[in-house]
């Protein structure tokens, strides 16, 4: 591969395709933030007029949907560490999946809110585990390893809530570092924002704890809470058997 000789402006080479567009969109959001993503800007990024994109994506909404789908689909390929085989127990599987999703959130903190916030295709799909394939895999893995239908569904619910709560917060912190986020235009700051002052001085405990609140324990917190969740599931599962 390497020097193939056709140059061009920036990213224009292949004849444009849905996949190329989605990848470009994800990269764009990683770099510039979600609010900066515009059909027209994405077009120029790809060396093409915005209108050309409509042959592949149907519209801005479909574009966002496609980005989410592509990221979620990567779960079955990407997660660092090898996927646990059938002999390894559901704890290993949930650990693997949890770290896979966390990897997505950390690699694409600006895209993750999209995964977390957009309405899934079916009402019973819960972000961030919001693709039929992933959920089928989740449920069948647990059922194969001894979960009743009921426990498997309850596990899906608890696991989704856990991932969403922890990773959305972690992504928010990472994302606000990466991007302009609020891009205050200097002037806009002067408006009557009511109590525009983010002034910790009026709050004695916040002042005392500010440093501690600012410490980053994201990884430790995540592992800890994940362990607790798995323990809780184990206990509930054990309740079923002796019945």
């Amino acid at each position: 591969m390497g020097g193939d000789g056709d140059r061009d402006e920036r990213n224009s080479r292949a004849p444009l395709s849905r996949e190329r567009i989605l990848d470009a969109a994800i990269a764009f959001v990683d770099a510039k933030g979600l609010t900066a993503l515009t059909m027209r800007r994405l077009g120029t990024e790809l060396g093409v007029e915005a209108m050309s994109l409509y042959r592949y994506v149907g519209g801005r909404d479909d574009l966002l949907e496609g980005m989410v789908d592509e990221m979620v689909d990567r779960l079955h390929l990407d997660p660092d560490g090898v996927r646990p085989g059938p002999g390894e127990g559901w704890q290993a599987y949930l650990q693997w999946l949890a770290h896979g999703v966390r990897g997505l959130a950390r690699e694409h903190p600006q895209v993750f809110p999209l995964i977390a916030t957009r309405h899934p295709a079916a009402p019973w799909l819960r972000p961030p585990l919001r693709s039929l394939r992933v959920v089928e895999d989740f449920l069948s893995t647990l059922v194969d390893r001894g979960f009743t239908d009921e426990r498997a569904v309850a596990a899906y619910r608890a696991f989704s809530s856990f991932l969403l709560g922890h990773l959305l917060l972690e992504a928010a912190v990472l994302g606000s570092r990466t991007a302009p986020a609020v891009e205050l235009t200097d002037v806009a700051r002067s408006m009557p924002t009511t109590s525009s002052s983010v002034d910790v001085r009026d709050y004695p405990l916040l002042r005392r704890l500010e440093d501690r609140l600012s410490e980053d324990h994201a990884s430790a917190e995540f592992e800890r809470a994940l362990e607790d969740l798995l323990d809780r599931m184990e206990r509930e599962l054990a309740d079923d058997l002796p019945g």
Copy 2:
């Protein structure tokens, strides 16, 4: 002015104010959804030109910020049930707060994602407990009741993640019922959405569990997980003392 004295079109009466604008915006989003909220449309809703709003809100971003602040501020007034007094223990306080936040999410499911998703004023503020006043109250309540600084901060983190994970998912379900959500324009549905089919037939376990997955146990789940969280905190707190 012929015939009617002082009544007018729709909502125009008071001379416009930040509070009136924010309330109108919240009501608008409750009714029409977040994507429908536009400076121009909000203006006409208030019987005024869009440009008049800029005297009170600084811009669309400040408007959204203001809506979030106002909702979060209601926590100290609204929550059903009376706020536990100093004699009642931190468990009662956290129960009260949890149900207060849940009330917000359920009353305004379309606004809640805003609370959950927008970057807070300080990086260590975690949605949905994202106001200085609320966090000061949270921390001081716990410290007054025997938490060390460290435990109080850890509790704040765990509590935020818990609320965010559970309530964002609950609000998403409620919100998608209330609003057009994706408003597919019939035609847009025909585009090459890759696997546009939300077809459960290919997934045997999903087909078997679909009914069970669709059951609504939001309240029971929430109470259960809240109890578990409080239990966990109690255990950790107990670890501090005998040491």
